[in-house]
Amino acid sequence: MCADALKAKDYKSDIRPVWCPGCGDYGVINSVQKAFAELQISIDETVAVSGIGCSSRLPYFLKTYGFHSLHGRVLPVATGIKLANPKLEVIAFGGDGDGFSIGGGHVPHVVRKNTDITYIIMDNHIYGLTKGQVSPTSNKGMVTVTTPYGSPDTSAVNPLSYVLTFGATFVAQCYSSNGKQMTELVRKAIEHKGFSYINIISPCLTFNKVDTTDFYKESVIDLPESHDPSNLVSALDMAINPPVGKTYTGLFYQSQKPTLVESIKAQQKKAGGDDNYDIANVVKEYKV
């Protein structure tokens, strides 16, 4: 690295994070800044996009361009930004509720189109910002303010199999207390061409008294060495069937497919796309 290389702290904005002390999201932003530094990513050509939630506040604390959108709308917005200017590095951030509850309808389509963005979810199995209600990744029976008699939802959403089903080309999971692995995976996700997804287990100390750091200390384990990230069926298996009481972290799956930007460029080519196309030609086609 040359002398004026950007350091992790150079990616910090002037705004101080507002998360509770001990929130997993602090670990996430640290790794993101480190990964940025490792890649020497351009501050001016990167956009951090988010929805609404504690986790969705992350872009404020980065020095890049940012877009704090609406609850659940991070993916459509990120798509628009990337398509407007494919040169930009577009990274979407959000929470489990933002991504899989109100925003869940966008996921299949952004994934299956292999949209050229990186999507990082801070999964705390709870709605943090609204002070502790069940989220789609909360387990059945969880007691929260809106489920005082236990959540009636038979199965939780599994973020990894969710995106794998729709054809995601990069899928990983990590844990907010494991900075080294997290930084590496964030870097790889950004480097990946096409849609990349990272599910970061990022505990909410304030409102989730079930899935705590103590709980994860025991349960988070690395994917087995034998797992081949080019094998989709194995990836699904690792996602759905980890050993009882355990959760795998690591790179589940990676592959290459045409990306949305590539497909749209191909369309433009087919249409004879020309930056200086004269609209008068269109008018002519309507002549009597």
């Binding site: 930004i81 966008h106 796309g273």
Partner: protein, 576 residues
């Protein structure tokens, strides 16, 4: 001056639309102005469909009132139009051998039978040619220029080969022969002809024109979700945008569409979406975001009959309240509404210009009648338009503040990629820097900033000034919006011709309300202003009343149809 309306009615899928299109094309070929009007069922098949064309040597301002000639393809069509078959009109109908089982006789109405179905099926052995047989009969009866008809058929079927063209010629001839052999023309209607040069005329639908206007304005991004009656705007742009390396996306829903658009606009694109009522309802939250984050964007809303799924293929102007007041919180928007097909092109350019200049969402309210109708209009010259782009942050600026408080409320915007322009686009209340703030002073200052823009929009010369029609001193003023403005023009012309003291004001800017212009207009007629519109509640009238000193007379029609000039003239006389 010649002015003739021919209406064709029948079952959806019988080729009504293409027969009507050809009548219109042929007329335009003969140098006439045309304005068409179609309605079709919300179902894919079956149900009553209608296509009418108005021809004139003069500029056409509206669909007109009723018709002079009606061509019935089946009994349902005949039944539906029976009330309008008044003395002096002409009926051409499919008989015998078709769906109509009895000969028709109506007092004062000239009736010509043509066994269209039988000729197509039995004589020509091609049932789908029924509409061409009808076209032949109509051409013969009303003197539609034969060369023009042939040219139109050649244009439409040429690509499919000589055989197809000839088949259609045969059907046309069969229709015209039947008339020649069986009827003697007893009515006085003929389409006429004009020597007007048609070199610089195009025939285009309102929806295509909206797309064309967007292209001229420099639009390079569209995200859409299909919906009747707006889909054609997107179809047009799907074809055209890639030609200039623009991007089009069919999104998973309307929320995603506007999300795409706002992302693209932030990224530097001139971006838009097109939709209809139900879609616009879904966009309310993100529209509020655009107001708050000050992102330029254009939404074309082609209105249909409401509420809810309503009457998807029918004409109505009932989304004004939502366009103006739809989202939560105090969020400024601009609402424009074009008057006719030619105007749509201009208004789309205005929409993009205003949206870029003021960094504000602009809604363009078209409607079913305007979207579906075609008109012959002067070919626009793309180069002749003024194009405005957003004021960008000057490169290399120190301590850039995205939401800086300025006199105009507009602050220069940086585009990702610009060094030193980093900020966070946000829907939270914020400081000038874009950092969140819930301090009372920031909310007050930023609210002022956002709303201040509207003061300048009202006066901006980029928006065509409201047009006055008639003498300033009058007993009654008439105002409307959207396609009903055309009806007002025609009705007020008629009223003035009859010596009535009536005038009109035509404004494409609906919101913010151009209060001063309206007050001044109302003064000349002692505040007596009639506002006709196609909705139940009298939405424009209520908005004008809420914003000005006027207490307008609201005249509402809400039956899925455009308002006829005759109808409005009658109302004008009633209130005078």
């Amino acid at each position: 001056m010649s002015d003739l309306i021919i209406r064709i009615g029948g079952e959806g899928g019988e080729g009504i639309i293409s027969a009507g299109d050809m009548v219109a094309q042929a007329a335009a070929h003969s140098g006439l102005n045309i304005l068409t009007f179609k309605t079709f069922p919300a179902e894919i098949r079956g149900g009553y469909a209608m296509y009418q064309t108005r021809f004139s040597t003069e500029t056409i301002k509206s669909e007109g009132s009723g018709f002079q000639v009606f061509c019935a393809f089946n009994q349902e069509a005949l039944d539906n139009n029976m009330e309008e078959l008044i003395p002096g009109t002409v009926l051409v109908y499919d008989y015998p051998g078709g769906d109509i089982k009895e000969e028709v006789k109506i007092d004062g109405v000239t009736c010509y039978n043509v066994p269209m179905s039988r000729i197509a099926k039995k004589d020509l052995e091609m049932y789908r040619a029924k509409n061409m047989v009808a076209l032949g009969a109509l051409s013969e009866l009303f003197d539609i220029d034969e060369a023009s008809v042939r040219e139109t058929i050649q244009g439409k079927f040429g690509k499919k080969g000589e055989a197809v063209v000839n088949t259609n010629f045969k059907a046309i001839e069969a229709g015209s022969s039947y008339i020649k052999e069986n009827h003697k023309k007893t009515d006085q209607y003929t389409m006429g002809k004009s020597d007007k040069k048609m070199d610089d005329v195009i025939i285009i639908s309102g929806n295509d024109a909206a797309g064309l206007g967007a292209l001229i304005a420099g639009c390079d991004f569209l995200s859409l979700y299909p919906i009747t009656p707006a889909t054609e705007v997107a179809i047009f742009l799907s074809k055209m945008l890639p030609r200039k390396n623009g991007t089009i996306v069919q999104a998973e829903d309307e929320i995603a569409s506007l999300g795409n658009v706002l992302g693209a606009s932030f990224g530097g694109a001139k971006a838009m979406t097109s939709t209809s009522g139900p879609g616009l309802s879904l966009m309310q939250e993100l529209l509020g975001y655009a107001s708050m984050a000050e992102l330029p964007c254009v939404v074309v809303n082609v209105q249909r009959g409401g509420p809810s799924t309503g009457l998807p293929t029918k004409h109505e102007q009932s989304d004004l309240f939502m366009a103006v007041h739809g989202g939560h919180g105090d969020a400024p928007r601009v609402v424009l509404s074009p008057e006719n097909v030619s105007d749509i092109i201009d208004i789309m350019v205005v929409a993009f210009n205003i949206s870029e200049k003021y960094q504000i969402p602009v809604l363009v309210l078209s409607d079913g009648s305007l979207g579906f109708r075609t008109e012959s209009i002067p070919a626009p010259d793309p180069k002749s338009y003024t194009i405005v782009n957003r004021e960008k942050m000057t490169d290399g600026q120190a301590e850039y503040k995205r939401y800086q408080l300025t006199k105009s409320g507009v602050s220069p915007i940086s585009i990702p990629g610009q060094p030193g322009g980093n900020y966070i686009c946000t829907g939270l209340e914020h400081k000038e820097s874009s950092a969140p703030s819930f301090a009372p002073a920031d909310h007050v200052a930023q609210s002022d900033k956002r709303f201040k823009k509207l003061d300048d929009v009202v006066k901006d010369s980029l928006i065509p000034a409201p047009e006055k029609q008639g003498d300033d001193d009058a007993e009654l003023g008439v105002m409307s919006w959207g396609s009903t403005m055309g009806t007002v023009r025609e009705a007020v012309d008629m009223a003035i011709a009859e010596g009535l003291k009536v005038k009109a004001l035509h404004s494409r800017l609906v919101w913010p309300v151009p209060v001063d212009v309206i007050e001044e207009f109302a003064k000349g007629c002692n505040g007596k202003v009639l506002i006709p519109e196609i909705n139940y509640q009298g939405q424009l009238a209520e908005i004008i009343k809420g914003k000005t000193s006027l207490d307008p007379i609201s005249y509402r029609q809400c039956d899925g149809l455009p308002m006829s000039p005759e109808n409005l003239l009658a109302k004008i006389k009633e209130v005078l």
